[in-house]
């Protein structure tokens, strides 16, 4: 138990930085090589649709398994036991929505962004503006949560204490700059390769640690659980639900947002455009489901393993708190070297996810707002990509600034909020426009803006922001909504608003030609964007 006394000063800083630097150098070389074939808008946004289903599936796992799901879930299981596991199940089951209802139809219908699909048979400018707004909001929340998470990680891995805000800020800025380099140099192709490399490292790292931990208990999972129960002050409660989520309705609300949010996350949707056909899009999701599922099974072992071998009390006291469970377990198992490796993977995770978010947000701004709303479709692909690159630079700077400001704040609720907005503003609109004939422009606007507004209002007046011990703004209390997760209200409201809006706008002329084109195209792939250079 020497860890307890040293208070998180574990591992060697030089080694951690060294391994991370090797990762950055390696990926930069790959990104640079990938960039040499970047010529067209399709190359920049969709990697020329040249990735195979399996490659894209690995990249999707890389994009999806953020620091929140790797460090956060392992840590939540270590400290709260079963409730952390519940979280991971929502994240996995959610992929069935993407597989059955969204991925292939979206791939066949759209070109680069979510707005392409939503505006297909609607009035272009208002719907694209709405789609871009919700894309930017979701990406922004997700981005800030990732960058703020980097702060806690830095405290643990580079031994820059929370008191040294300047030092932590410099590291956040470096992380942001490397990310900007990936996106500007490599575009979607480079970003995808970073995600593939990171996903492979993450899954292999988790695999090795899982069997290492299980080996210590003679490959007996029950014995491992026994070890965790023995070490935890919570005892047997670790094996059943109820330690983390005290408010039942709030937990159900979170569960619904997790399961319906994934298929509405713009950076995940955009990944389906990087493959040549709908069949490859399907294959991507299948790969992603298996990889993500197996990975969460690993985190179940790692979480209870960290509880058994490190101990929940040591974890919660370490800098980085709950997030430090996996790194501390790595140190316990394999000393400095394994800690260095896992730390590098954790940093790589933040880099890859942030890069994916940045390219998505910049694509949505350039393709939906600039090219179609501002220029009314009268622009060249070259000009559009230039705008996308500039936007990526601005988003990168905003991410760095936001990450520095949010560092040390309790912004964990931002990830849940991003899922809630995705499930409320995006998913109903996507499903309606794919499956409901009479859905119209007004319906799309009501469900996007309505879902977005309801989510934001409820979260601002929720205990996550004020009026509770864990609130973002301590000492203030303007909360009147009792739940931290708005999903249980905002998702049904948004589905309903889509119907009401459609009814209100029923006098809009029904565009039967566009509807026929969209439906035939979505189901058969006829006329969909091809792998060849298209712009």
């Amino acid at each position: 138990m020497q860890l307890a006394q040293t208070q998180g000063t574990v591992g060697s800083v030089g080694l951690n930085i060294g391994i991370f630097a090797v990762f950055v150098l390696l990926t930069l070389v790959v990104v640079y090589r990938a960039s040499r074939s970047n010529r067209t808008a399709s190359d920049y946004y969709a990697a020329g649709r040249s990735f195979s289903g399996s490659q894209n599936g690995i990249a999707i796992s890389g994009d999806y398994l953020s620091a929140a799901s790797f460090l956060g879930i392992a840590g939540a299981i270590a400290v709260y036991g079963y409730d952390g596991f519940l979280y991971s199940i929502g994240f996995l089951v959610a992929w069935l929505v993407a597989l059955l209802l969204v991925a292939e139809l979206l791939r066949n219908t759209g070109k680069f962004t979510m707005g392409d699909v939503l505006s297909f048979r609607m009035k272009q400018r208002p719907v694209r503006a709405a789609a871009a707004t919700s894309t930017l909001v979701v990406s922004f929340f997700y981005l800030i949560a990732q960058m703020a998470g980097a702060g806690g990680l830095i405290a643990l891995l580079l031994q820059i204490p929370n008191s040294n805000k300047l030092g932590q800020s410099i590291v956040i800025a470096v992380v942001g700059l490397v990310m900007i380099a990936y996106v500007l140099v490599g575009g979607m192709k480079g970003t995808t390769w970073v995600q593939i490399i990171k996903a492979a490292l993450l899954v292999v790292g988790a695999f090795v640690m899982t069997f290492w931990v299980l080996g210590k208990y003679g490959l007996n999972f029950s014995a491992l659980l026994g070890g965790a129960v023995e070490k935890s002050s919570k005892g047997e409660a670790l094996l059943a639900p109820g330690l983390q989520y005290k408010n039942k309705i709030d937990f159900i609300s979170l569960g619904i947002a997790l399961v319906l949010g994934t298929a509405g996350l713009p950076h995940i949707l955009m990944r389906f455009y990087t493959v040549p056909t709908a069949k490859e899009a399907r294959k991507s999701v299948v790969w992603a489901i298996w990889l993500i599922g197996i990975f969460y099974l690993f985190t179940l072992v790692l979480g209870y393993g960290a509880a058994a071998l490190v101990g929940p009390d040591v974890i919660t006291k370490a800098p980085g708190g709950v997030n430090s469970a996996a790194p501390l377990l790595a140190f316990q198992l394999g000393g400095e070297v394994l800690l260095g490796l896992i730390s590098a993977i954790a940093f790589a995770t933040i880099l890859a996810v942030v890069a994916g978010l940045t390219i998505t947000a910049s694509a949505s701004f350039a393709h939906d707002v600039y090219a179609n709303v501002v220029k009314r479709g009268q622009t060249t692909p070259g000009a559009e990509v230039r705008v996308a690159r500039r936007t990526a630079l601005i988003i990168g700077i905003v991410a760095i600034a936001g990450g520095i400001l949010a560092n040390g704040q309790n912004v964990a609720f931002l990830v849940a909020l991003a899922f809630a907005v995705a499930a409320s503003a995006n998913l109903p609109t996507i499903l309606y426009s794919l499956f409901w004939k009479r859905f119209n422009t007004m319906g799309a606007l009501w469900s996007i803006y309505g879902g977005l507004a309801v989510c934001l209002v409820l979260i601002v007046f929720s205990p996550a922001v004020s009026g509770s011990e864990t609130a973002m703004i301590k000492g203030a209390d303007f909360a009147w909504f009792p739940l931290s997760n708005p999903g249980i209200v905002s998702i049904p409201v948004s589905f309903l608003l889509g119907v009401i809006g459609t009814f209100v706008g029923r006098r809009e002329r029904f565009n039967s030609e566009k509807y026929a084109e969209m439906e035939v195209r979505s189901l058969t792939g006829a006329g969909s964007e091809k792998a060849t250079v298209d712009a």
């Binding site: 596991f85 519940l86 209802l101």
Partner: protein, 111 residues
């Protein structure tokens, strides 16, 4: 690639295809699979979340050693997800893809 502008007696090529029995059959098969399956897994997930919220004592029952009912049902969510994935892929490969491909060739041959 767009053929929306080309009008013939029965509207655009897409409108003709959309009205064809072959396309209607493809749409019906797709929907008949994905809608019930989506309802099924969403309900099964909701049951799980409700059990975790309202029946923690049931979830804490030990089955063997330290392995609880909650862990079993949780792992069954993984199994059902993998199973539905496999079933859908088999269905799509065998039923949807050939039909979709036939229709696509018809359209693109004409375009």
């Amino acid at each position: 690639m767009s053929t929306t502008g080309e009008r013939s007696a029965g509207g655009t090529i897409y409108q003709q295809v959309q009205a064809s029995p072959e396309f209607g059959d493809l749409r019906r098969r797709l929907r008949r699979f994905v809608f019930p399956m989506s309802a099924l897994f969403l309900i099964w997930y909701l049951v799980y979340v409700l059990l975790a919220s309202y029946a923690p004592d049931f979830m804490a029952i030990r089955l063997s050693g330290n392995f609880t009912v909650g862990l079993l049902i949780g792992l069954l969510q993984f199994v059902s997800t993998f199973l539905i994935t496999t079933l859908y892929v088999r269905f799509a490969d065998r039923t949807l893809d050939p039909a979709a491909e036939r229709i696509r060739h018809e359209i693109e041959g004409e375009a």
